[in-house]
Symmetry: D3
Subunit: 255 residues, 6 copies
């Protein structure tokens, strides 16, 4: 199967990192196609960048999804997740969604570690939208490290992660912990031995869940808010994205 991994952050270096980790966790027959967003933030850390990325994600999907069997959105806010499920005929999985759902099978209360205190409400809104707020036992935001620089200062970052996990276990009784963010791909493997609860990152969980959905083979809904796009009148989009709304464009532009 061909698995499209979309990184709407416009940073090839993160994409490569994610692609490498996705390749490590994918099953033998899975081919990873990793693409980077073509406009917007190099690293999404604000609401405004996230709003732009809603569009950029769909745009990247419109260009690259043909011929693929499933999609992983490698952005921790699960940007455009439900829109992508509507636009595409194949399964789409968000990395934070996948990590949270997988964690539900490994622990009772789930802890979440995020980078960037400012982004904490954005992550909480994601969990709320997924209807999983009742399973979250605690949040920890690591404020003084940048995920973008993770490679540069790996030891200090990892110590802060370990401290956050210990707090979630000791103070908030969490029994599984999600490390949110595409840059966390591969980190659980390195740190697992030093903590007492299962650690999960989104990329590994999402790749596995996408493979699972492909294998299950359920068809896309033909009713409801995720049904295929009807023919819609849109303007000034990229040709690939325009084609998703209007396979054979013929309407004049709006007045």
């Amino acid at each position: 199967m061909r698995l499209l991994v979309v990184n709407p952050n416009t940073s090839d270096s993160v994409t490569q990192r994610v692609a490498a980790q996705a390749g490590r966790v994918a099953r033998p027959g899975t081919e990873i196609i990793a693409v980077t967003g073509s406009f917007g933030a190099r690293v999404i850390t604000t609401r405004s960048e996230q709003a732009v990325a809603e569009h950029a994600t769909l745009d990247a999907l419109a260009q690259h999804a043909d011929g693929c069997d499933a999609v992983v959105l490698a952005v921790s806010f699960d940007t455009a997740l439900r829109a992508a499920r509507e636009m595409l005929p194949i399964p789409v999985v968000g990395i934070t969604e996948a990590a949270l759902l997988t964690a539900c099978m490994l622990g009772t209360r789930i802890g979440v570690v995020v980078f960037g205190r400012r982004m904490l409400p954005m992550y909480q809104e994601v969990a709320q939208l997924h209807g999983l707020g009742a399973r979250i036992g605690g949040w920890r935001a690591l404020t003084d490290t940048s995920p973008y620089n993770l490679g540069a200062d790996q030891n200090a970052v990892e110590e802060s992660i370990i401290g956050a996990v210990a707090d979630l276990v000791d103070l908030d009784q969490c029994e599984a912990v999600v490390l949110a963010g595409a840059v966390m791909a591969g980190v659980p493997e390195r740190l697992q031995a030093r903590v007492t609860v299962p650690l999960l990152d989104g990329v590994a969980c999402a790749v596995a869940q996408a493979e699972l959905l492909v294998r299950l083979g359920r068809p896309k809904a033909t009713s409801g808010s995720l049904a295929a796009l009807p023919r819609r009148d849109v303007v000034a989009l990229s040709a690939a994205l325009q084609a998703r709304f209007d396979p054979q464009p013929s309407l004049p532009p709006p007045p």
Copy 2:
């Protein structure tokens, strides 16, 4: 004061309709500046169009907000509302948010009438994000009429609205009803006499709430997820939007 009304639907006709109604309800000293989105759907009715409009809304705001005192987002999904609050130094109000908050002062259980059964989950997600789910007593989706054609078949549409309101009152004990959608601007005035509970439309409420916020004069937060954008590295955006992230761009493009 100058009030920017942004319609991210790329339909000037809806913008004109909204602007006219906004002008009617605004206080004497309020000047309405109405602008239309420059890319995306003529009328947003799907999740994918909504995702594109997140970007288009910010883009329109970036171009037109300077010199304004407040913003009304004239799109019923409150598209990009929190991002706009982050990006701009002035108050921003969403029309559905404003109608729901205003309705809270007029009734206990609030009913909501929307156009398009397919869009119902999208509206419910908006109410949930606003934390107002506990106040909503019922929803009714009018499925067989298009809001875009409201003018063309006004009588039938209005009868269906009146029927939906009656159902919300009789079956769901609603005590105030919101008519969701920018195209509902002005409709409550025409139909109010035929129903037993207050009717509210988003445009009127949002214009009034925006005026209120300007008058209150509270400053924007300097901490948290709505604080002013830090300098961010973004690529391939319109010049106006790029400038919001990076007032004096100097970084090279990402690799």
Copy 3:
């Protein structure tokens, strides 16, 4: 318009303070009529005083509401708010309700600062009744100062408020803070420059929201639990209040 401000606390000094602040924030055409409750607590700080004030509030409204366009209940427990909406044909706004609803447009998580640790559950019940519990990010009760003496020891009180707001921002990620209590009228203006999030007091918000509702001009519901009082058989009330239940009393007293 004429705006009736009712202070069910039986303290003229607080009423005068509230009236002055209401006058400062009201629009030019708004006339403030401020009245004080005629029985019950000088300053409501217990559940029992609040129960008495439910009656006292209606009694004051019955005497003074005629000829007014809207009402502000200047008591932080929003005492008798829904009853007043039932009894009167004009809009009624509670100060805590108004502050919370307004704060919803300025921040995501809302913090609340109250005076009196003992009263904290009462405030939480108010927020719960309004269905806004999901928006409250944190509470802080200032225990060692009396709101009644606010003028006497202003500096210490204000320092404690600033500390509470900082805690709400730093520990609970609040992005807007409500200072609960009629005596907080005007305090946000003095302290705003020293905190990082918008501060709101109930009197200013309620005056503005009442003006907004009058301008919107929605009629009162004629169905549901807020519809006009039917003719009811009541005994031993003040003449003014009795008249609200029974415009032309003719029934004999109950056995």
Copy 4:
């Protein structure tokens, strides 16, 4: 033990009915003292009457509670329940609270039958305040019968109750049903044989729960919002009620 039953409805006939039923269900050693409110509605059916009754309930308690061991509030909105717990040193039980809590031990989902469609939101607010919303499986409001006239048209009323219970069982999977209202005292016994789930009325449950609390003998809290009233400055109350706030009044009236 001496059990004070307070009916804040100013109708001696209802008080007598309630007292008779309370006497039937009370244990042998329990003496019932039933009192009627001295001002307000003969039968509370509106929010405004309920607001007045908050005061009237405390007033009646202030006059009659001395020498009693516990109190039952025989009003289905549990009027002034928490205030009474604060004001008095003895246990206080509300009839709707008692019925709901007792029903929790007899079924999973609890149905509630109320009289008066207009009052339904008031009852729902009571259940919400008690934190029992998650246990309520359904509500039914009987609209065309008056509880006050229950004796006059007993058969028709009882048929409508039986129909409502059947609906709650069949459509909403309720497994126990509360008949709300002081006038429902004794009705479950008459109708139980005709329905498939346990029927509960508030008076019987409240009398029994009050006896239970007296027997348990837990002391009143000395901290928190239910602790004994501190000395408070109140004006223009009945002598009995005034004395609850200020055992030895000596302060001058407020300015």
Copy 5:
């Protein structure tokens, strides 16, 4: 009346302790029959022991319930509570359920003290199942003492309880506190004078609530998930338990 107290912990010493306390709080006419589980854990402290005890509880009830008027399940996880209500024709009360429901009448926010940090999630699931999560203001797990050894080190345990209650009052604004666990029977009486809020233990509350339900005399539901067991085909159970499913067994064993 005859009240069966079942301790599914297989420890006669705990059963005796519970029986003694039950006898002290029961009304004069109540005869206590206390039985111990015949298989499983001596003291249930893990999920696995709790799962076994679901069966052991029913088994003990099947053997001993005939001739009794009501049942108290003397195990703090309210093990098999709803199954027992289904299987038996008489009222069944769980000790934690009874303590929480009773506490609802004595305070607003309820605190809970449990033994064993590991068991905390199990207790929280019990409160959630009872739909009382909204009433719980705080939890404290005493980690360094074993309830089984309570007698041996009584002073230290009691100091830790008093500290936990003080924390619940001071930090979490709790107004009544439940001491969870059958071994807490009688502890509230000893410690009550040293804390500021009512203390409740499950055994006392459950005995009293069981007596109350017997007195109320509501019949068991004949519909829903608690209705009497239909004839069921079960295998390899004790004769007593088998007989509850199949009064006159005649079916051949399954293939």
Copy 6:
């Protein structure tokens, strides 16, 4: 990998059916070991049978789990799920849990079809325990068919399922539907073409999720309520189950 499928229903025929379907959906390298409970109900349809099955499930696991890589609990109430996660060192997945979590990635509101109206509250408690109540859009209980007889009257059952799914889509806006029950294994494939939303059965989802968890390779928690059983003192269990609590039993039986 070796996947243990435990059917705590004591019906080999259902076990064989489940095993066959599990084999069809498992990946090539997965070996299915299917075992049947050794005591309790042939088909669990009541709370009492479910309580017994809590024990029976652990007993079967204790006997058969050694040498396996993961477990699927093939019982729709996810019986003993959390206890099994505690007792065993390998991943354990419940079929209803797995179906609900998988459905979360395919639709917004999830519908659930169950067999047996009486069992509906039991299923709702399962969804609540999993913290997924907010995602469930509707329930339908098929009352007049027995899942045990599914093979005998397949057409009628399948028509009723299709009708229930259509109702969930049309009336409750569900976008994915779970068919609850081990006997539903394989049914989605047969009916999918006749409905408009993805259908999911628990066995297929659980087998796939168990394979996923094995591949992810996260270790079991060493803290919290799911950590390995400490040495516990238990009596009168099967040797295999006893050994899980006490690898080298040496304690004397309890008094």
